[in-house]
Symmetry: C2
């Protein structure tokens, strides 16, 4: 739950000149938002990528029956956006909402696209963001197709090591695409086998994923 | 099932100079492959994006119990690749296989990356491919999380209008993440309501998606 500034994230994770980073940051806006604030609502056009410096966001859809489905959580150091909406200039099918009081950097998508056509280090930066997004989504599709409830839960803990203690169980079940009852069963089973304690920290050394 | 050359696809879909298209094509290889040929196997490194000029590919994984899970079909005019493997230089978790005798263009990923850092029209081309990929995967995650078997099936027909008559039902079920029995039930129900005939063509005017 440590906060990470976008500047230090870019400096440590990407091979981008400091001057280029400062140019990018001068076009970003930092915003403090209260819990439950919406950064994007269905049918709005998404024009930013959101970087979470502190706090927690979620991206979700609501189906015709009013049920919520969580596509992604975005804790500290994660990016979240609806690229379908921003790139194809389409109304979004999703909501992006703060689940905690948060500090968010808004990165203008048009600015990034424009810069990535001119400055090679930004082409690389943008490319890396897009490939990370594809990697995450492809793994998510494969998990939803092939993994059992238990495997999905263990994968979730790897991806989001501290989210379990920050959101209600119903949201975890929604992300996993399983019922809250299945999630409770999996957690009881794992607790019985002492594989994962109640916080989700594994006794078998599950490592944190770098975004 | 009409064949589409990569050249005519690029000319009609993308705003790229003809000279740049010819440069790209001079670095691509066209390959005729027999049904069942593997273009990628698990644990190999994926170094190409495959464009289907004629025929049909599938990308799939095999779980620990030996069960296959189809992430994507790629008929004529579709691109398919494992970007996680090619971009992050990682062993692939997937197989890419021809389901029919096919004609495929192999686009060298390193070449595309290099070109997209130098030539703006290729930056745009690459960007568009990546965003299309994200759009497809994001919709797939949302469908798997929120849609009923019937909704998934109708979405499938929109995405792949002619695949139903080209692959066994078990593969369609595998793609949809439902059992073959659920798929049969959905098809019977839709046939009874005369919503979708046996070829999958809807009487309510389902439109073909452009890739």
């Amino acid at each position: 739950m440590n906060s990470t500034s976008l500047k230090s994230f870019l400096t440590s994770h990407l091979n981008v000149d400091e001057q280029d980073i400062l140019t990018l940051l001068s076009h970003c806006t930092t915003k403090k938002v209260k819990k439950d604030t919406f950064l994007l609502r269905k049918n709005e056009r998404c024009s930013h990528t959101f970087f979470v410096e502190k706090g927690l966001l979620r991206q979700y859809s609501i189906d015709e029956k009013g049920k919520e489905h969580i596509l992604a959580f975005a804790p500290e150091s994660w990016f979240v956006t609806d690229r379908e909406s921003s790139y194809f200039n389409a109304p979004s099918a999703y909501y992006i909402q703060a689940l905690e009081d948060s500090q968010i950097v808004l990165i203008d998508e048009n600015f990034i696209q424009g810069l990535s056509e001119k400055v090679p280090s930004f082409t690389n930066f943008n490319n890396r963001l897009l490939h990370n997004h594809i990697r995450h989504l492809q793994r998510r599709v494969n998990t939803l197709l092939s993994d059992s409830a238990k495997e999905r839960y263990l994968q979730f803990i790897k991806t989001y090591p501290d989210i379990l203690i920050r959101v209600p169980q119903t949201m975890v079940a929604s992300y996993l695409g399983i019922t809250p009852e299945s999630l409770s069963r999996v957690r009881r089973e794992l607790a019985r086998k002492n594989q994962v304690n109640y916080l989700g920290a594994s006794s078998r050394g599950i490592k944190k994923n770098t975004p």
